[in-house]
């Protein structure tokens, strides 16, 4: 897990008193294909520098030797850039759990960045899944943060210890809901809207049967407090 320094800002829209609890970054294995590709190019460069001149000294000598080494150094240069480019995308692509929000920073390209943010009261369910031998061996998986209503789900792939992260998200979400009063009296925040609709519907039905002598009790629906801005 990343060390969090809460004296500093982690994302653009972070509030001054908002505390970062978890910084979730994809596992290193997520960029392994790029590392292997770069490794193969480095290996090719090393073969070109050390093996080929020994095997074909006539070809790689004199004028051509300078060009040859130049081409190899350019190959190394571009391979290094390729590797660092992909590492940068890996490094900047994170999910951040704060005490108020869940934030997903998606860095698809150098100039393609998307920051999705939702209040923790929108979290409906969190699930962790692992698929395949590699995921099981290295304890990597996908954390699916399901949201209430029409909001899109947050899917964080290739993260280490997905179960631990899911548990921590749920724990922080419950703490947040208790703090802002979205839970209580056995009514969960997600059932809140449903409870209100059901209560209104029940009141309408009861009123149709009500008389002056026999009034029906009005069912009061739960009212949630507004989360702090």
């Amino acid at each position: 897990m990343e060390q969090i320094d809460n004296t500093k800002k982690y994302f653009e829209s972070q509030l001054p008193d908002e505390r970062v609890i978890l910084l979730i970054r994809r596992h290193f294995l997520a960029i392994l294909p790029y590392v292997v590709t770069a490794g193969l190019f480095y290996l090719l460069g090393l073969i070109l520098v050390f093996v080929l001149p020994a095997l074909f000294p006539a070809v790689v000598s004199g004028f051509s030797y300078n060009i040859y080494i130049l081409a190899v150094s350019v190959l190394f240069l571009f391979t290094t850039s390729f590797l660092f480019h992909n590492w940068t995308l890996h490094y900047l692509h994170v999910a951040i759990l704060t005490d108020d929000h869940f934030v997903e920073v998606s860095q698809a390209g150098m100039f393609s960045r998307k920051v999705s943010q939702m209040s923790l009261d929108k979290v409906q369910d969190v699930s962790a899944s692992q698929k395949g031998v590699v995921d099981t061996m290295f304890d990597i998986g996908t954390v699916d943060v399901q949201t209430a209503g029409e909001l899109p789900n947050f899917l964080i792939e290739h993260v280490p210890d997905p179960s631990g992260i899911a548990q921590q998200v749920m724990k922080i979400e419950e703490e947040y809901c208790e703090r802002v009063g979205l839970k209580g009296d056995g009514i969960t925040k997600n059932a809140n809207v449903t409870s209100r609709v059901e209560a209104v519907q029940q009141n309408i039905a009861n009123n149709q049967d009500a008389t002056d002598e026999n009034p029906v009790p009005v069912i009061e629906y739960p009212v949630a407090q507004e989360p702090p801005q």
């Binding site: 004028f63 290094t80 850039s81």
Partner: protein, 75 residues
């Protein structure tokens, strides 16, 4: 025509633009963990080594022309 020098300059323009983009993005969006900045330093250090090597060899080969190059290969 120093065709290799021209190709080299084109490659360097592409590489420099690419590296400048990566550097800009890291400097703009890096997190307070300092990992981004330290890796950026390593990237530039490694790149400068390869860059110096390439400059040394282009300096030694800057007068090489296509006919000379082909002739040097014994064709």
């Amino acid at each position: 025509m120093a065709i290799f020098l021209l190709i080299y300059v084109l490659f360097m323009i592409v590489w420099l633009a690419w590296s400048a983009t990566i550097t800009y993005v890291i400097l703009k969006y890096h997190y307070p963990d300092n990992i981004g900045l330290s890796r950026l330093g390593i990237y530039w250090a490694v790149s400068i080594v390869f860059l110096v090597v390439s400059i040394v060899f282009i300096a030694r080969a800057d007068w090489v022309t296509v006919p000379n190059f082909i002739a040097s290969m014994g064709v």
